[in-house]
């Protein structure tokens, strides 16, 4: 067990290095003078300020040297200093993290609740009504942009159901019920979108498993159909699904950025967007890095989970 975990964590290192390198190096693509971009011409001419900013962004020395310096900072938890806000980037990130986390967890939860059961039933009742319905639903779900559905919910909700507030955020510790209800709207929007992807994947995974020999054997043994499907087949079918959750988390993060804008939720996604508006490059860098590392972490956890569940993996 220990060996596998260590090996898997060891594999995480190049991914982390790669992600940090990408988010760090990309800022060098900014055309023109980055300091002028950030602070305007008058401020940029201030030599001291310019030197400070360039040092902060990691632009004053050669790439490799700067990269090592950057990694050192990340390890300590220093994600940079925002000159627009005047505070360390990590503070803003951590204060908004629980909000995005709540949205993410609720969305993923709803997506799994919608996608997996529908996918399973679509597979076992192939060709019947539930299958056709599920496939149409999944096709529409992946084709509809989340910002379209979200916008419709917000505005039609406001026009026809003015008593129900669909936008904004209520902190969880203030009122758990109100917070969850408020979060329900963006979470379900994202949940439907990702649930559609999960549905297709579950359906094909279950279909594949149902064709396997051991399922045929179980049926031949005389086991009840329910037992065959839900105990034997589903166990194997769930493994690739759990693995895929790591990949879907990436879609989730992309989706939260957009939906936080639509539903006016003060989370990490909104932070990135406002940072872009303000040309707050340290903030952009820090937030993108943080989110990417988060996704990588989720993938690690998911892989370890699969290792526990999958009997084929030698622990």
């Amino acid at each position: 067990m220990g060996r596998y975990i260590l090996r898997r964590i060891f594999l995480l290192v190049p991914v982390v290095l790669g992600v940090t390198f990408l988010t760090f190096a990309l800022i060098r693509l900014v055309p023109g003078d980055i300091v002028t971009n950030m602070m305007g011409v008058t401020a940029a001419n201030n030599e001291e300020l310019r030197a400070q900013i360039l040092k902060e962004l990691g632009l004053d020395k050669p790439l490799l040297q700067q990269y090592i310096w950057w990694i050192g900072r990340i390890i300590v938890g220093d994600f940079g200093f925002s000159f627009i806000h005047g505070k360390p980037v990590i503070n803003q990130i951590l204060s908004r993290l629980p909000i995005t986390l709540q949205l993410g967890l609720m969305s993923m939860g709803m997506a799994i609740l919608i996608g997996v059961p529908l996918g399973v039933f679509s597979a076992i009742r192939r060709g019947k009504f539930i299958d056709i319905f599920a496939r149409i639903f999944s096709l529409l779900g992946i084709s509809t942009p989340s910002f379209f559905t979200g916008t419709l919910i917000v505005v039609f909700g406001a026009i026809y159901f003015p008593t129900i507030t669909t936008i904004g955020y209520v902190p969880f510790n203030e009122s758990p019920w109100e917070s969850t209800v408020r979060m329900f709207w963006p979470a379900s929007t994202l949940g439907i979108g990702i649930g559609a992807i999960i549905l297709r994947y579950t359906r094909s995974s279950v279909l594949e498993v149902l064709g396997e020999d051991y399922v045929r054997t179980a049926r031949a043994k005389g086991l009840s159909e329910w037992l065959v499907i839900f105990v034997h087949a589903l166990k194997s079918a769930l493994i690739p699904i759990i693995t895929a959750i790591g990949i879907w988390t990436a879609f989730l993060v992309s989706g939260t950025v957009i939906l936080e804008e639509v539903f006016a939720i003060p989370g990490l996604g909104r932070l990135v967007l406002s940072a872009i508006e303000n040309r707050d490059y340290p903030m952009i860098q820090g937030t993108v890095l943080f989110l990417s590392l988060g996704v990588a972490l989720v993938m690690l956890i998911v892989d370890l989970l699969v290792a526990l569940v999958d009997p084929r993996v030698k622990l």
Binding site: L22, L29, P145, A158, V253, S292, V295
Partner: protein, 297 residues
């Protein structure tokens, strides 16, 4: 046993009398979803190409009627600036498809050879690239697209490069997988033994087998490229005003939606329609090239 059936039994499958095109047409008949998808895609291309002939107004022409409801004169109504939404949607197809197609084509042009060479050559070269591919593949595309566009500045050209750069690893991995299986086949080993150069082997043996999976992937990437461009334009980071784009018009209309829902509904439906078309086509192609189904045709 007539002579005809005897000679048909002697011919291997790949040399049967049915051409690929005929096979494809038969599949279209059997799979209505793919037919619909293909029809939608062709329709979109036609609309984009013949846009000036189909739109009644210019995309930025002020018609003097602000926020008109859909009518015969303005099938999709007008927006807050008095511009005809129907025309904007039609011209918007040029920008939306004009971002999606080039970015996927660039991704394939770079990714396919990259994946093919990487898979065939193997070794450290391959392992290095696969690492990079896996990293970019796993990361949230829209997040990185937003960051890249934020750095480079929003423009159609930057949008194309950004999306293409993020899609190259996907195409490369799709091209690499069949390469790995084929390069160990006997006929490849035989060809190498007879002195065939690497390019000849790649061209004759590997590329024909990569073509199908890459085509399927491209169709699906076109749909996500469309969605990505729409999302970025919606956030104001894609196609810039006053240029028309389905996502941008949706984003702009959102702020004035209580004055007229048509501003949001029609661009949104257009995005759905287009993405649905590419998805149906991609799914159909995937089923078409599936070896289990191929044998039946």
């Amino acid at each position: 046993m007539s002579i005809n059936s005897h000679s048909e039994k002697l011919l291997p499958d790949s040399e049967s009398q049915i051409t690929e095109f005929t096979r494809f047409l038969r599949q279209l008949k059997k799979d209505p979803a793919m037919l619909i998808g293909l029809a939608i895609v062709i329709l979109l291309i036609v609309v984009a190409v013949f846009a000036p002939l189909l739109a009644h107004y210019g995309s930025n022409q002020s018609t003097g009627v602000i926020l008109a409801k859909p009518s015969f004169d303005h099938p999709f109504g007008t927006n807050i600036q008095g511009r005809d939404l129907f025309s904007r949607v039609i011209f918007g197809s040029r920008n939306s498809l004009g971002v999606a197609f080039p970015s996927v084509m660039i991704a394939v042009a770079i990714g396919l050879p990259l994946g093919m060479f990487s898979g065939y050559i193997g070794g450290v070269f391959d392992r290095f690239f696969v690492r990079i591919f896996d990293i970019v593949f796993a990361m949230p595309t829209i997040l990185f697209a937003i960051a890249l566009v934020a750095y480079l500045g929003p423009s159609i050209r930057n949008l194309i490069f950004t999306i293409a750069a993020l899609y190259i690893p996907r195409v490369a991995l799709v091209a690499r997988a069949p390469t790995l299986t084929i390069k160990t086949r006997e006929y490849v080993l035989a060809a190498r033994m007879f002195g065939s150069g690497i390019f000849r082997i790649l061209r004759k043996h590997i590329f024909p087998n990569i073509f199908a999976p890459v085509l399927v992937e491209s169709s699906l990437l076109l749909s996500t490229a469309l969605l990505t461009e729409a999302a970025l334009s919606f956030l104001g980071l894609g196609v810039q005003p006053p240029h028309p784009s389905w996502g941008a018009d949706l984003g702009k209309g959102r702020f004035f939606m209580e004055l007229g829902a048509h501003q949001v509904i029609f661009p949104g439906l257009m995005i759905m329609f287009a993405v649905l078309g590419f998805n149906l086509l991609g799914d159909g192609l995937r089923d078409y090239f599936d070896p289990r189904i191929r044998k039946q045709v």
